[in-house]
């Protein structure tokens, strides 16, 4: 009997050990659910993001060749991720370390090793790396528009200003160096490798190239630093390269979601490092003004579902639109860096039936949810938000990301700024159409969730570059402001011992002072106005110049600086008769570029003009400046 009891006890113990072992083997709770599916169902890894597949919502982090790129988090009670490197790599030799910052590490692992990765000691969470959104989804005549062509002559000849452009990709940029981009352009590729040996083209996008072209157009004397990146840790690596390179201004036409829209959050902490180093950070405001709902969570009927208006509407109904098209939704709230005690999920309904939810995709560690869905033709589509964890109320921000589309109801343009444009020290730039001067409807509006009036400026978009026939969006506007800031920096007179410049805060003051008022725009469109550089007074009138003899070496008329707008030169006698014009017959008056004209001393018929006084009139679209000639 005793033997039987002993055998039963041993069998029970073995069974318990087996159950615990099995439980340990399948303990994948640190993995985001999509990661778990990968771990369980094998290497079904897609090399390209597929927005129709719930596995791959914004999944630029997924890699080919059976590997997956992940962001590992040591959690709120964990130490720096860098300190875990040797332990983790010892337990999981297949783990390829890419970068680390604070509690986060960016790594690559084979899909087959996800099970083992889930059991790494000290691992709080493993999920997709945080990536940004290019803000060009909607289209450089902006140079003249903001007055940069006239201002550029006032740059000093001292040390060149250095402007950094951090973007996803710079396809074709190297071919443009020396022509559309300055000869002194430096590049670094952090896309796919936070160590700097990544892909400069960012998978083949020319978004950053177009931004760099605009900056070169506005500030041709500036030296450019181009850095490609995709994830937030790669952004940090690119930013540190910029700081180490002595960059003065960073232009970033990318929007991020890792924050609550109140100027805080992990992404803004990264950007703060550059701001603290004295750099001016210029950021595109975002293009989601009409595809955004923002406000506090409201649930008056207590069913856990958010009400988008005071009438209690719990869904945003999509208009009929094109069936079958996929779209992506992103939900964030102001609870960073961790929101384990408060969770919301996006739900999608078709004809009242729930067809997708972020509850199936996220572990609930962060205040971030993203959901891609392909709508079914002919079915009514509604979007809802449900509180799934906790009882507190947070400020929600819901975005629709597919290009050019909007919310057909419950739109709240206010507070639609993406990160880091919501940070107080970041110069946020919205967009207006360079041709019509109209504010772009999609241009993100303030104030921020913290109440800051932003974006500070609006700048032109729908401009042409060599790489893009028409570049629109706040992505195109922000580089105009970055170039303008560089011109102001370059206009500062130099002292010899030390390199003094306008400080970043003073640059903001100058740009605010010279911005053109923009009355009548929607509230929150811009707190300063349209981007403008100060305009120099034209050359003084009344200069005496010798009249050239017809047929002899011509007289050179030289303007002190390029006119602010396209100019035409004409010569009149004292009776007000036009003697010669730049476009007249005979070539009596010839333009040599923007600032030089040659007059042969003949009229338009090639006849010598009589001795006496003549007026040279320079006509621009805005002003005319007479110059007196005397023989």
């Amino acid at each position: 009997m005793k033997v039987e009891r002993l055998m039963a006890a041993v069998a029970g113990l073995l069974a318990a050990v087996a159950i615990l072992a099995a439980a340990a083997a399948s303990d994948l709770t640190t993995l985001e659910p999509w990661c778990r599916q990968l771990a369980r169902h094998g290497p079904a890894v897609r090399s390209q993001p597929d927005p129709t597949a719930p596995l791959c919502v914004l999944d630029a982090g997924l890699l080919a060749a059976g590997q997956v790129r992940l962001l590992l988090d040591t959690g709120p009670r964990g130490g720096p991720a860098a300190e875990m490197r040797s332990a983790w790599q010892s337990d999981l030799p297949e783990l390829i370390w890419e970068a680390a910052s604070g509690h986060h590490a960016q790594v690559r692992v084979p899909v087959a090793a996800l099970d083992e990765l889930a059991r790494l000691p000290g691992l709080f969470h493993a999920g997709r790396p945080r990536t940004g959104l290019l803000l060009d989804d909607v289209v450089s005549a902006g140079v003249t528009e903001i007055g940069a062509d006239a201002f550029v002559a006032h740059a000093t000849d001292g040390d060149p200003i250095r402007i950094g452009i951090i973007d996803q990709g710079f396809a074709g940029a190297e071919a443009l160096i020396g022509t559309e981009l300055p000869a002194e352009t430096r590049t670094a590729a952090f896309y796919g490798d936070a160590g700097g040996a990544g892909d400069l083209s960012g998978g083949g996008t020319d978004h950053g190239t177009a931004c760099a072209e605009i900056i070169h157009d506005v500030a041709p004397g500036a030296r450019l630093y181009l850095a490609s990146m995709q994830t937030s840790l790669e952004l940090q690596a690119a930013m540190r390269w910029m700081i180490d390179s002595g960059v003065d201004v960073i232009s970033h036409s990318v929007g991020w979601f890792e924050g609550g829209g109140d100027g805080g959050g992990p992404l803004n902490e990264i950007v703060a490092e550059a701001l603290d180093a004295g750099l001016l950070w210029v950021n595109a405001a975002g293009n989601q003004a009409q595809a955004h709902w923002g406000g506090p969570f409201r649930d008056t009927d207590g069913d856990g579902r958010h009400e988008f208006d005071a009438a209690g509407d719990e869904t945003i109904t999509f208009d009929a639109g094109a069936g079958g098209r996929s779209f992506t939704l992103v939900l964030t709230w102001d609870r960073w860096p961790y929101s384990t005690d408060l969770g919301y999920d996006i739900e999608i309904f078709e004809d009242g039936e729930r067809v997708a939810s972020t509850a199936d995709l996220y572990s609930g560690r962060y205040a971030y949810r993203a959901l891609a869905h392909a709508r079914t033709v002919g079915r009514q589509l509604d979007i809802g938000v449900r509180r799934t964890t906790g009882a507190e109320t947070a400020h929600l921000r819901l975005f629709r990301l597919d290009a050019g589309e909007t919310f057909s109801e419950h739109r709240t343009p206010a507070g639609s700024l993406l990160l880091p444009a919501d940070a107080p020290r970041v110069l946020a730039v919205g967009a207006y159409d360079v041709a019509s001067g109209e504010l772009e409807e999609f241009s993100a509006r303030g104030p921020t969730v913290a109440g800051d009036e932003k974006p500070e400026l609006i700048a032109p978009d729908r401009v042409a570059t060599a790489s893009r026939a028409s570049f629109s969006g706040t992505s195109a506007a922000a580089p105009h402001a970055a170039g303008a800031a560089a011109l102001l920096l370059a206009s500062t007179p130099e002292a010899p011992f030390f390199d003094f410049r306008w400080r970043a805060s003073e640059l903001r003051g100058l740009l605010a002072a010279y911005a053109a008022p923009a009355p009548g725009l929607d509230p929150g469109s811009t707190s300063w106005g349209r981007l403008r550089l100060p305009r120099a007074p034209l050359a003084p009138a009344g200069r005496r110049l010798p009249l050239p003899a017809c047929g002899q070496p011509p007289l050179t008329l030289r303007l002190r600086r390029p006119p602010p707008t396209p100019a035409a030169l004409e010569i009149y006698d004292l009776l007000g008769r036009r003697i010669a014009s730049e476009h007249g017959a005979g070539g009596a008056l010839v333009a040599l570029g923007a600032t030089e004209f040659l007059w042969k001393g003949c009229d338009s018929d090639g006849r010598p003009v009589a001795s006496g006084r003549y007026w040279v009139r320079l006509t621009t679209q805005a002003e005319a400046a007479p110059v007196l000639l005397l023989r």
């Binding site: 006032h154 003065d248 011992f497 390199d499 002072a513």
Partner: protein
């Protein structure tokens, strides 16, 4: 008693090579010793204070072109050490200010600097006659520079007032001629040239954008020290 063994040929060759490499230095040392022997024993040491004026030119064109030559009060003190090379500490100070060409949107711009240097050097004196002697020697210097920059843009309600301070280390040499004018005291005319590297620091903006500014300064100085009575003679050439 054992005689010291001769170094093996290979070692001798190494020594010879070393001597050849150090030939110029050795020759200079030999000349210096010969001069010292000719000058006799070290002179009686005495302290002497000089007052003077220096005309300072910065070797870096960026600085000199901006502020131009500057005049500096000069105070030196010969240390009372009984060496052949008379050690001397000198202090000089100058300042400057210059209107800058302000950008058209700014009302005014200016920069200014304060510059103080302490030099420590030794002077080997060669007496030509009772009244005339020449000196030369090395110098090391520690300079302190503070620059201020002001730019005003009243339309933008902005005034930027910034300053930077650095210490600059330099080394060089000097030449001088000294004349004793009996009761009138001692007059010296000297020329110093010093070289160093100053980091041209970026004050506003990203400090990582600093650039090196190789340069230094040269100065011509005229100094006077009063005649010393009561048997104490100033200047080592009188020893």
């Amino acid at each position: 008693m054992h005689a010291s063994p001769l170094p093996p040929p290979s070692r001798a060759a190494r020594v010879a090579t070393r001597l050849r490499r150090r030939g110029p230095m050795l020759r200079a040392a030999v000349v210096a010793l010969a001069l010292a022997a000719a000058a006799g024993p070290p002179p009686a040491a005495s302290a002497a204070i000089e007052l003077g004026a220096a005309r300072l030119e910065f070797a870096a064109p960026r600085i000199d072109g901006h502020y131009g030559p500057r005049y500096a009060p000069y105070l030196a003190c010969d240390l009372p050490l009984r060496w052949h090379i008379q050690p001397r500490i000198a202090l000089l100070y100058t300042r400057g200010r210059r209107d800058l060409q302000a950008p058209f949107y700014a009302a005014a711009a200016e920069s200014g600097f304060d510059f103080a240097a302490a030099t420590f050097g030794g002077s080997y004196r060669l007496r030509v006659s009772d009244r005339l002697s020449f000196g030369a020697g090395p110098h090391a210097a520690l300079a302190w520079v503070r620059e201020r920059w002001n730019l005003q843009a009243p339309d933008a309600d902005l005034e930027s007032d910034q300053h930077g301070t650095r210490v600059w280390v330099a080394a060089g040499a000097h030449l001088e001629a000294q004349v004793h004018a009996a009761d009138w005291g001692t007059f010296r005319l000297g020329y110093e040239r010093l070289w160093g590297t100053l980091e041209r620091e970026r004050i506003s903006g990203n400090a990582a954008g600093a650039a090196s500014l190789a340069g230094g300064w040269s100065l011509v100085r005229v100094a006077w020290s009063p005649s010393q009575t009561g048997g104490t003679r100033g200047g080592d050439d009188e020893g």
